[in-house]
Structure formats: structure tokens, C-alpha cells
């Protein structure tokens, strides 16, 4: 008997709950008693079981570690933009901060009014003679329209320097921002500015390259390490890498947990590397990387290397 009675209609929602083991004990017994004598409801339950055979009870997607790490890296960068890892503001704390902010604004306004006029250029100015060593950097931005890096810091008055990435003062200030352990926001902004800039025509300041290498050796945050490798790529261009940095990057190519970082490292090494047996071995190892993009790039780099330089000539 397969026709649907009014009683069957009432049981239809219960059948779904029964199928998913969400029915209470009494309702379950009631439904089982009904199904014992109702072919239509038994057939309906069988339909639900067929559905289960068609749509497995599994997530719609499998996420391997490399995919998950890529998403985690992106999420970390978004959180850093939000001020992470500073303490999330609580309502009470916000009020206290607001009071301090108002007090600070009044104090600054009083100081400025007493000491400077607007014509004196209190807000910001650009001078080639301002010393930059020891500057307490407050902000770093990259202006995509002009291609200039804009860095602000405190001297006897606020100073803003706008210049391109090849400017020695910009590179010195960026080095200082990178080395400022107490100000991760400043470090991140420096990395962001470098990552967005265009390739300099001149060789980078070795102090800046050292500072970037130091970040790679000490920074635990994967998002910042990824930005650091990107910045190195921009700063160093196609120039040969200093030997200690090259060694560090080769180790990172095999040991970095994040595939996004490994891939960026591989691209940096490919663009700057002179042929060497060690580099060839690193590429061979990268051919077995868990991430298919890295494997593909390593294959391609090896093919390019072997076509331009016979293997027996690689030293």
C-alpha cells in the first residue's frame, strides 16, 4: 500500500527527523508502529536513505594542509590590518582611551598654537637635510599614484619624507622600522610599502637587506614572513643574493610550513640565483614539494637551468 493518508502526511517531517536520529523516544516508537503497517512511509524512508547514498555525509570539500595554510596566511594579514595582536578594545577601555585621546588632542593643540603657526609647516614637510638615524617612525605609506614612499616621524616637530624606494634615506628609515621590535605595526607597514613599490634601478642598501634577513630569522608570524620575502624580491630585484641570505632561503624552501612562503621563496631564488650545485639540489628537492604549484615552478626552473647551462657545467 503506497498511497499517502492524512496520518502519513503528519509523519513526513518525523520521518526526516527519524532518518537523522533527531526524534524523541516516544515519537520514534509511534512512528515505527505506524511504519510497520504503512508501505508509503517505509518507501519514503527508503527515499531518504537513497538520498544519503547519493550525497555522502562528508564536507563538500577536502582541504589539505597547504590550502588551509594559504587561507590562514591571508586571514593573518587581514587581522594584522585590524591591529591584531593588540588587545581587542572593551567598552570600558574604549571610554578610557577616548578620554585620553581628547586630553592628548587638547594638549597638542595648545602646544602647536603656542609654538608654531600654520605657515611654519607644522603638519609635515619634506627636507633633504633632516637626519633620519634614530627617528621614531609613526607612519609609512606607499602612494600608488606617485610611486613614492611616505614616511612620517617625530623630530622637534612632525616630519614627513616623500621619496622613491631608491632614496638612501627611505631605505635607512625602512631598515629602522624593520628593526623596531617594539612596534610590529611599523614593521608591517614598512614591509607593505616595499611590497607595493616598483623595482629599484640601483643596488639596495646592504643594511636594508640585512634588516629583512633579520626579520626572516626572528619573526614568528607567517603573514609577516611572507611579506618580508615579497619585500626582498622587490628590493633585491635580479641581483645575486648575499650568501648567508641565500643559504637561509634555501633552508626555508624545504622547511617553511606555509606553502605561500615556500612559493614566494622559490620565486625569489629563481629570479636572483646564479647556477650552483646547491641550487640545483634545492630545486630537485622542491620537485617533491606537497604543493603542486611549487612542484610545477621547480620543474620549470630546472628545465630553464638545464637548457641554458648543461648539468656538467653547474658547479
Amino acid at each position: 500500500m503506497n498511497h499517502m493518508s492524512a496520518t502519513c502526511q503528519q509523519h513526513r517531517e518525523d520521518l526526516v527527523l527519524y532518518h537523522y536520529d533527531e526524534l524523541g523516544q516516544a515519537a520514534r516508537a509511534d512512528l515505527e508502529a505506524h511504519m510497520a503497517s504503512c508501505g508509503a512511509c517505509r518507501a519514503h524512508l527508503e527515499d531518504l536513505r537513497q538520498l544519503e547514498a547519493r550525497i555522502p555525509r562528508l564536507p563538500s570539500v577536502s582541504l589539505d594542509e597547504s590550502a588551509l595554510e594559504s587561507i590562514r596566511d591571508a586571514a593573518t594579514l587581514r587581522l594584522l590590518d585590524e591591529g591584531f595582536p593588540s588587545t581587542p578594545a572593551r567598552p570600558g577601555l574604549r571610554l578610557v582611551r577616548l578620554k585620553w585621546a581628547v586630553a592628548a588632542c587638547i594638549a597638542i593643540a595648545t602646544f602647536v598654537a603656542g609654538r608654531y603657526s600654520v605657515g611654519d609647516g607644522v603638519a609635515a614637510f619634506d627636507s633633504p637635510d633632516i637626519p633620519v638615524l634614530g627617528a621614531r617612525i609613526s607612519d609609512i605609506e606607499f602612494d600608488t599614484e606617485s610611486g613614492m614612499v611616505q614616511i612620517s616621524w617625530e623630530e622637534s616637530r612632525p616630519v614627513t619624507l616623500r621619496a622613491d624606494l631608491e632614496d638612501a634615506r627611505v631605505q635607512s628609515l625602512l631598515s629602522q622600522a624593520l628593526e623596531d621590535q617594539d612596534n610590529p605595526g611599523s614593521r608591517l607597514r614598512a614591509l607593505r610599502a616595499m611590497s607595493q613599490a616598483t623595482l629599484p634601478q640601483t643596488a639596495p642598501d646592504p643594511v636594508l637587506v640585512d634588516a629583512l634577513e633579520s626579520v626572516l630569522r626572528t619573526e614568528g608570524n607567517e603573514g609577516i614572513r611572507l611579506q618580508t620575502v615579497k619585500a626582498l624580491h622587490i628590493i633585491n630585484g635580479r641581483a645575486p643574493l648575499p650568501e648567508p641570505l641565500k643559504q637561509l632561503l634555501i633552508v626555508m624552501l624545504s622547511e617553511e610550513r606555509s606553502p605561500a612562503i615556500r612559493l614566494e621563496v622559490l620565486q625569489l631564488l629563481v629570479s636572483s640565483e646564479q647556477a650552483s650545485m646547491q641550487w640545483w639540489e634545492a630545486l630537485q628537492a622542491a620537485r617533491s614539494d606537497a604543493n603542486p604549484l611549487i612542484r610545477r615552478q621547480a620543474e620549470s626552473a630546472l628545465a630553464g637551468m638545464e637548457s641554458t647551462q648543461p648539468l656538467e657545467q653547474v658547479q
Partner: protein
């Protein structure tokens, strides 16, 4: 909520970013999979997840521990996923191709460099088309119940509605899928009838 999670929540609410990270890492794979089930592609799922994470971080002080942290975070990401879906209507944006097939290995935004995401699709085009017939809420409930095995009372917390409403969504979702997939199976002669 176990003791360790309690400790982590307390530390995270006190400003310990590592504790927040650890809480997130305990849940992120599953939450991303839920978002993927709702949105149908990993790029949007990742966007919804990131937006949700930022909201969770901003509102961590409002978390009162009346549910597990994972449930709370899932609820936030689901809200983001549903909002995103309203905006994008993935059915229009990602139509199936003429053959109804999609490569099992999707490379998303291949020009974007190291942030590329490789995921394996576990669903056939036919099932994805069936899921596409469901309303956003029906699909969300079906994904949470059928694919992830949450209890109805947990789902009610996650989508912020009564348990009875969740039952109703689940009922409607299974009816629609049964009609869509059952009809297809009958037409292709795959289905076997049973009277038991």
C-alpha cells in the same frame, strides 16, 4: 566547553593573541568547509571566513561562553557567508559549463601568485545543481546537518532561529533534493524501488 578552551578564551579576552590564534586553529578547517558548503566555492568561503574572523576578533569581549567558541565563530562566519551569497548570487556568477562538468581540481585565480588555493571538489555537478535549488537557509541547514552532522539544537544556535524552524528547513531541503535527484535517477534508470 572543556577546561583548556575555557583557559584559552579567558586569555584571548585578556588580549593574548596566541590564545585567540589557537582557538581559531582548532576550528578553522571545519568552519571553512561549512562556508564552502553554503557558498559553493573556496574563494568566497575564504572571504566569508576572513570577514567572520575579523568580526569575532572585534567582538571577542561580547562572547559570554554560553556556547562553545567554535559554535560562536561558526555562527559569525555563517552570517558572513549568507550576506556574501546575497550579494553575489553564485548561481549567476559561477554557472556550470555546457556539459555540467567541473574539473575535480579547481585552481582559483591562477594569476594571483602564492595565495592560490587548491581544493578538491567532492560533489558532482548534479548534486551541486540540486543544492542550488535550495534557499540559502535550507542549504545552510542541510550542509550543517547532513554533511557535518550537527545536532538540530546546535544549528538553531548557529543560524539564530528556533529549533522548530530548523526542522522545517531540513524537511523542505530533503524534499527538494529528493525530488530533484530522485527524478534524475528514475529518468536514467539508476534508481531501484523498495517496498521494505
Amino acid at each position: 566547553m572543556n577546561h583548556r578552551e575555557n583557559e584559552l578564551i579567558q586569555a584571548a579576552q585578556g588580549g593574548d593573541s596566541r590564545a585567540f590564534n589557537e582557538l581559531v586553529r582548532l576550528n578553522d578547517r571545519r568552519i571553512l568547509q561549512v562556508a564552502h558548503g553554503i557558498l559553493g566555492n573556496m574563494q568566497d568561503a575564504s572571504d566569508a571566513y576572513q570577514e567572520g574572523l575579523i568580526r569575532a576578533y572585534r567582538n571577542l569581549h561580547t562572547f559570554r561562553r554560553d556556547a562553545a567558541f567554535g559554535t560562536w565563530l561558526t555562527r559569525i562566519v555563517i552570517n558572513q557567508a549568507l550576506n556574501l551569497k546575497k550579494k553575489r548570487r553564485w548561481k549567476q556568477r559561477f554557472p556550470l559549463d555546457d556539459t555540467g562538468q567541473e574539473a575535480s581540481l579547481q585552481v582559483l585565480d591562477p594569476a594571483s601568485g602564492p595565495e592560490e588555493i587548491l581544493v578538491s571538489s567532492e560533489l558532482s555537478a548534479e548534486i551541486r545543481a540540486g543544492l542550488d535549488l535550495l534557499s540559502d537557509r535550507e542549504r545552510t541547514v542541510f550542509v550543517l546537518k547532513h554533511m557535518h552532522g550537527y545536532r538540530l539544537r546546535e544549528i538553531a544556535v548557529m543560524i539564530e532561529c528556533a529549533e522548530g524552524t530548523v526542522k522545517n528547513y531540513l524537511f523542505r531541503a530533503t524534499q527538494k533534493l529528493r525530488d530533484a535527484l530522485g527524478h534524475h535517477a528514475s529518468a536514467s534508470g539508476e534508481r531501484t524501488t523498495s517496498s521494505s
